[in-house]
Symmetry: C2
Subunit: 342 residues, 2 copies
């Protein structure tokens, strides 16, 4: 038996949906007679109130939307956990959508969340996203929006980030301090800001140490799903192109582990032949052999912080206040392990 | 500027929401005059049609809901990929919710999806779920429902499963064939059917080979999030309790890898001292050292199959047909690697 809707009750009594809804909630501005008729019909038809309908009075749905490029990824997974943990404390459900690095899909998903009347949206942008109208639409509808990790500088909303340049500089400096002279870089895709910033941090560390920047030492990883395989592929290519590389800063641990698998296979010793520093501190980085030096990326904390900021903005909208967008930068640190110990 | 709703247009013109909606879609059963008034007001107020509103004519929203216990898990991640890949082919968006093994959350999430008028729901049950009224509610509303992996036998809907008993039997038989005489089992939580079935397969293999079943060799892993840590913990406990165990069948690879990390740390040789078989064939199982023998669990295929079945049922409902629920059992196989080679 299909669920009875407010529309159906309204049609049967020849009144508006709004009146039906108000009558069921016992609003005084609906006549007693109408309230009685509505309740009786609702009971006869076995009407079940829609728990998640946007509450007419509070205008809240107590749901938020989360759009991320790739769900199944150790960093994003920790962010999801952080968001969900905070959301649950405040009684919010989290609707998760995966954009798969596709701008088109991301746009559709923004539309979906707006039509579902979520109270706010948290997003990490798809690699492909270079146009931001769909995000500005969210803001123009006064819907709270918080970005994290892959952000767009130009969109005026709150952002939770790390200082990617500083972290990459730290990683590269560590390799140089360990005696590396020819340091390669496996970078991320070309568009995302964090990928650009990590590359710039790597480059600056070389130049500050009077080492030449050589573009042929930079390999691109589109990442997302294929990270492990791309790590192997880039490792194979690097060994074909160069025989003097003694250190690599790799933009994410899963890629690094793919690369290390290939190096192990080809008998390249880590760290003696090539030292490696990854990024994000996936738990498997402390399990594999040799263990992987990496930059700790506080994913869970990023998720918690993103939700907390979104919640503040949801409350502000509800109380008809405005609060200025905030940029929150979380700390990172280098975790030294076997892959860079010389 | 908040978006204009159909309700607001209806109120201004003192007609029903249904009439407004029909007028905007140019339904002939609405008078030309009313259609004109509605369109003009919509234009003045800059009304944007809700792309995802349930289409009045087709009664479709082109969205489906997916509820899983834990998103960040190598098996479920492959299932998600399988579902999304098929859904995209048919133009459906997938709303993902994580129940976190909580029955209460799972119930709320079913309510949410029903209120959001998704066209169908795919679900793998939370460990805690022992009551199925919320699922029967979905079925009584004639909403297509497909279960996978963690299913409830008693709920009358389609299910995509593997033969867990047969797979566990195969895994245990393999250890016995390799010469193991005291085979332990790290099992899953007590309620889920697949956990029960894997335990029963393990037990049967022992008895069929005239080996005694010893309950003290069975360790429980609540799994979900803490799989790796629980693997380590159970390994520590097993070594305290027994010094003669020579084989372990472990219910999921991540737990197995946790256990192996502990054994490596304590100088226990794998497979020479203890042989290990895992379950699910996580990609890291072929990366760690020693590589892990496991049962291949076709996650991606399970996701594809789940969506395909759901889609059939969505089409049937749309065409006012009924199709009987189907139970689809996918094949598994043992992948032999270093952790069980003697």
């Amino acid at each position: 038996m299909k669920p009875v809707t407010l529309k159906e009750i309204a049609e049967q009594l020849n009144i508006s949906v709004t009146t039906v809804s108000k009558a069921l909630k016992d609003y005084p501005d609906v006549s007693k007679k109408t309230r009685g008729l509505v309740r009786e019909l609702a009971k006869t038809l076995n009407y079940k109130p829609n728990t998640f309908a946007v509450n007419l009075r509070t205008k809240e749905s107590k749901t938020i939307g989360l759009i991320i490029p790739v769900i199944v990824h150790h960093f994003f997974s920790n962010v999801i956990k952080g968001i969900i943990s905070q959301a649950e404390k405040k009684g919010y459900l989290v609707i998760i959508l995966q954009s798969n690095e596709s701008y088109e899909l991301e746009k559709k998903q923004i539309d979906l969340l707006l039509s579902q009347r979520v109270d706010g949206i948290i997003i990490s942008l798809a690699n492909e996203t270079a146009d931001f109208n769909h995000l500005n639409e969210v803001i123009s509808q006064e819907k709270p929006l918080v970005m994290f990790d892959k952000i767009a500088k130009i969109v005026k909303c709150s952002k939770i980030i790390i200082d990617d340049r500083k972290a990459a500089y730290l990683a590269t400096q560590h390799l140089i301090d360990k005696g590396c002279k020819r340091v390669a870089h496996f970078r991320g895709a070309l568009l995302p800001q964090n990928s650009i910033d990590r590359f710039l941090g790597y480059k600056k560390a070389l130049l500050d140490n009077n080492l030449p920047y050589d573009p042929s030492l930079v390999y691109i990883c589109e990442c997302g799903d294929m990270s492990f395989e791309e790590g192997k592929k880039n490792a194979i290519q690097l060994l074909k192109d160069h025989n003097d590389v003694d250190g690599i800063f790799i933009n994410t641990d899963l890629v690094a582990i793919g690369a290390m698998t290939e190096f192990n296979k080809q008998g390249i010793k880590i760290p003696d032949d090539i030292s490696i520093v990854g990024f994000s501190n996936w738990f498997m980085s402390s399990v594999i052999s040799p263990t992987l030096t990496t930059i700790n990326q506080p994913g869970f904390k990023m998720g918690k912080t993103a939700f907390k900021q979104l919640y503040k903005e949801i409350k502000a909208v509800k109380n008809k206040k405005t609060i200025a967008p905030k940029i929150i930068t979380l700390e990172t640190e280098l975790i030294e392990r076997e892959s860079s110990k010389k």
